[in-house]
């Protein structure tokens, strides 16, 4: 059976996966880049950007399994773009330029579906108004036996966790206090009982937590 995986999901010490006030200039709202500085420094991220260099320590080791064995991604609409409500037009093609780093089918959960969007490099965005179970069924179908990655944001990861659909959760606790934004942990009391949890800190100051099925 293919697994459902979450990777490189940063949260602040007070549990916010993104800040308040997402907009075109601030995809993570008032959090800015602070939740992802550890990731931007890695070789894994640099390669996703088509760049060289980057560190290859603990953070990179944790980050690099992101793409291995993944056949499809599911993401929330707020990860796809800053728009809310009905689409005014279909000009927006995501934050990632002409060749997004996914290279698989990507299912965007939205109450406002729009036509499929085929990008360079193997990424096709499908827009889906569906509950987690149905979205996962569609993504698994598209993944051809490979794993399905949940790309975030916090709300959709939380919904999939609440529905007990996640097999591997990699959370990165960044020691900052955002104070406001989208919480990851709300409504998940007792989550730890369904998982085996390991933790490791890295020299960048973040703590990597992995939740895996026991």
């Amino acid at each position: 059976m293919s697994l459902v995986r979450v990777h490189n999901f940063s949260v602040s010490l007070d549990g916010y996966g993104t800040g308040e006030g997402q907009r075109l200039e601030e995809p993570f709202g008032h959090a800015g880049h602070r939740l992802h500085e550890w990731f931007f420094a890695t070789r894994t991220f640099r390669r996703m950007q088509g760049e060289e260099g980057g560190e290859t320590g603990v953070d990179d080791a944790m980050a690099r399994t992101w793409g291995e064995g993944i056949g499809a991604e599911i993401m929330g609409r707020n990860k796809f773009g800053p728009q809310r409500g009905p689409w005014e037009d279909h000009a927006w093609q995501g934050w990632w330029g002409a060749e997004p780093p996914f290279h698989t089918p990507v299912f965007v959960l939205t109450h406002h579906p729009r036509p499929d969007l085929e990008m360079a490099g193997g990424t096709t965005f499908h827009f889906l108004d569906a509950a987690p179970q149905e979205a996962l069924r569609r993504a698994r179908q598209a993944a051809g036996g490979l794993d399905v990655r949940l790309g975030g944001g916090p709300t959709m990861v939380r919904e999939f966790l609440a529905a007990d659909l996640v097999d591997h959760l990699h959370v990165v606790v960044v020691p900052i206090l955002l104070g406001r934004g989208e919480p990851l942990w709300d409504g998940l009391e007792g989550l730890e009982q369904r998982f085996r949890i390991e933790s490791v800190t890295s020299p960048s100051g973040v703590t990597h937590l992995t939740f895996t099925r026991p």
Copy 2:
């Protein structure tokens, strides 16, 4: 200048320093002992109980500085006992038996003062209806040049952090999700900017964070 220190302060991954529903049989409410299992296993805790044994690894190393150089403690009333509102009588003498492990003056913050309570072993409880600054002034006076420890619970630690009165904060993140209880981090956006923060995980699965003045 004497420092204001917080030690061994456990929070769940979702930021609760104690559970919901504190009562005589459950000092930490529905959290039970889950926030403090790492601490109970240490030699430091065993010694506080007058017992032998206990582990002497990372958790113990982090726990043991608890009492060093401390001349007074300030604690919230809910740490002292499960009662709320006016005291029905003065029979309650805290959770710790005839000889509490503090061995210094302890200032209990409460809107309902009562007479001083002198216990065996050097602990005297003073009951004080005061704001953080005034409580700290009193505690410093009693500490004779030594440091002052803030004993919790979450609400009083949060108030002292908000007033920027804390010099050393040792928080232990336990990978459980309580879902409800007393939050530590609320209203502290940007706290990290006032501190130098280090993290280390231990084999017990918890992450120790130290916030110190840069």
